[in-house]
């Protein structure tokens, strides 16, 4: 028993060092975001001193150069509405595909599953051109596209769960006079909740961080830039000139995610495990 305690002590110590290593890049960016932009490249690992401290100048510059609050708003708009659309429509589709059995529904189901293994590069060019022709190059259009891209995993996960719901409950509801819509929303949806949380978390994480789809469909020259697109726009092209604004922008992009994570940690970790096991 004594040997085990000694081991635990060593492991605890190693884990503490690892925590520092894991947090280092974020602390590094955070620390430098408060230094004057010209001082960052001189001594990147030094704490800000009275001479190098720049207050919120970098943050003001970063916000102005990228129109950060607008990017934040569009990111939030697209993420929230896409996740809601995915939850509502794919659960309904999954219900239909599970409960109606014929060649068409099983074919469609396999098509959704198939779409999960196709890399984005395979469809990105044709999809973005098609989206332009059909005038989907705006936030509502993005919601439609995310519904389409997210459908594969979401339908797969909902179908897996709905299969395990006993048919008798729904039949009882039908006999009591519910039409299929009422049966679905009053009987099936409440049971679907755990799966719905998993689907929501996986999709929210993906859509909030997604870069290529909004970049290709909406592009740089519109007011609808999302956060990843705004970051790439500032740093990828003009960043080298203002290191300070860049650091501040990185901090501002990370903070909302960390806050959200700390608040809903339990759901996020459970959702990710459930998603990985089922996907």
């Amino acid at each position: 028993m004594k040997r085990k305690t000694a081991w635990n002590g060593i492991i605890f110590f190693v884990l503490c060092i690892l925590v520092v290593v894991f947090l280092a890049p974020i602390l590094f960016v955070f620390m430098n975001s408060f230094k004057g932009r010209l001082y960052i490249s001189n001594a990147p690992f030094a704490l800000p001193t009275e001479k190098t401290f720049a207050g919120l100048t970098n943050y003001i510059n970063g916000v102005e150069k990228t129109n950060f609050f607008s990017a934040f708003g569009w990111s939030a708009f697209i993420t929230v509405f896409s996740v809601l659309a995915i939850l509502l429509f794919t659960s309904m589709a999954a219900y239909y595909l599970t409960r109606v059995n014929n060649r068409f529904t099983s074919g469609l189901y396999y098509m959704f599953v198939f779409s999960m293994i196709v890399p984005f590069q395979m469809v990105m060019f044709t999809m973005s051109k098609l989206a332009n022709i059909c005038r989907l190059n705006n936030p509502p259009g993005m919601v439609l596209l995310y519904l389409g891209f997210g459908a594969g995993l979401a339908v797969f996960m909902f179908c897996g769960f709905i299969k395990s719901i006993p048919l008798e409950i729904e039949e009882a509801a039908m006999i009591d006079g519910c039409n299929p819509l009422q049966t679905f929303f009053r009987v099936v949806v409440p049971i679907l909740k755990p799966t719905a949380i998993t689907v929501a978390i996986l999709n929210a994480m993906w859509i909030w961080n997604d870069y290529l789809l909004p970049y290709l469909v909406i592009g740089l020259s519109t007011p609808y830039k999302t956060i990843p697109v705004a970051v790439q726009y500032l740093i990828g092209s003009y960043g080298a000139k203002d290191m300070g604004a860049m650091m501040a922008l990185l901090v501002m992009s990370v903070v909302p995610i960390i806050v959200f994570y700390l608040v809903c940690q339990k759901y996020i970790i459970e959702g990710v495990v459930a998603g990985a096991v089922k996907g």
């Binding site: 635990n8 492991i11 884990l15 925590v19 894991f22 947090l23 280092a24 890049p25 960016v29 490249s41 990147p44 429509f89 309904m92 589709a93 219900y95 109606v100 293994i117 196709v118 890399p119 984005f120 590069q121 395979m122 469809v123 990105m124 060019f125 044709t126 999809m127 051109k129 098609l130 989907l136 596209l145 519904l147 389409g148 459908a151 594969g152 339908v155 048919l167 039409n179 299929p180 819509l181 679905f184 909030w208 961080n209 997604d210 870069y211 290529l212 990843p228 970051v231 790439q232 990828g236 990185l250 992009s253 995610i257 960390i258 959200f260 994570y261 996020i268 970790i269 495990v273 096991v277």
Partner: protein
């Protein structure tokens, strides 16, 4: 019940189906066809047979990207899974602070590839500055930078899945092993690892597909520099589409090839590790 539900097809399935058609079905079908065509926009394609595919194999950038991707993937898959499994073992010993450690290690996974790539670019450049060089001075730096970044991002995610697997190992089996005189190492290799094979399957699958398809991190960290020597397959395909006039067809052909490789690797790997799983 089926009969009444069937009439509700437009309400239940149509919205998803329309979106799916725009986002996936139509682009996929067009993509397959266009990989045999020469085109600038998707409406003026001209059939050229296998010409695009022939061009791929004469394309040095593509071969280089392919080799880079394979080296990167093999190394990151190994390191991520080994480190993640070790952390999971450490965090299932009931050490104090376990929850805090788990929270911190998992956090990087939530940060998007672009933001993450730039954070590491700044950090690594600051380190390399001491040796008067930068991340893009040498392809080796870019390679190791990407491996470090990928480890930082994925270890926590895989760790969580391994922890879930380890917690499902029945304690009576471990106690039985202890009574029979098994050492810690034997308990690990003969009891724990065989019983967490399902988690290993999942983690291998996720690390393989995530490393092979990596794009955002690659674009942000080095964008392929120096030259195109640190560009991975996804970035090379992107560059072919949008960086070279008249090569859209070749880009589409590369993408189709990429899809076949990704699907083949994923399916073989799933089949191989599934066979090693034991029933509990």
């Amino acid at each position: 019940m089926q009969k009444t539900l069937k009439k509700y097809f437009p309400i239940f399935v149509l919205p998803t189906l329309v979106a799916f058609a725009f986002a996936f079905i139509l682009p996929f079908v067009m993509g397959v066809y266009l990989s045999f065509c020469k085109f600038k926009t998707i409406t003026n394609a001209q059939f050229v047979g296998l010409e695009n595919y022939v061009k791929i194999f004469a394309d040095r950038d593509f071969l280089n990207a392919f080799w880079f991707t394979i080296r990167f993937s093999v190394l990151s898959i190994l390191t991520i899974n080994i480190f993640a499994f070790m952390l999971a073992l450490a965090l299932t010993r009931k050490i104090k602070g376990t929850n805090l450690f788990r929270t911190v290690f998992f956090m990087p996974n939530l940060i998007g590839g672009i933001v993450l790539g730039y954070i590491w670019q700044q950090m690594l450049n600051a380190v390399l500055m001491k040796y008067e060089t930068t991340l893009v001075a040498n392809a080796t730096y870019g390679f190791w930078g990407l491996v470090i970044l990928m480890n930082w991002q994925m270890i926590g995610y895989m760790m969580i899945i391994y922890i879930a697997g380890l917690q499902n190992v029945p304690t009576d089996l471990l106690e039985a092993a202890q009574i029979d005189g098994a050492t810690g190492w034997q308990a690990l290799t003969r009891v724990k690892i065989p019983l967490v094979m399902p988690s290993i399957t999942i983690c291998l699958f996720l690390t393989v597909s995530n490393s092979f398809k990596l794009f955002d991190q690659n674009l942000a960290l080095t964008a392929g520099a120096p030259g195109k020597r640190t560009a991975m397959l996804a970035l090379d395909i992107y560059n072919t589409f949008y960086g070279r006039m008249g090569y859209e067809g070749v880009g589409q052909a590369k993408a189709l090839l990429f899809f076949i490789v990704v699907a083949a690797i994923a399916l073989t790997q799933l089949a191989v590790t599934r066979r090693k799983e034991v029933e509990t």
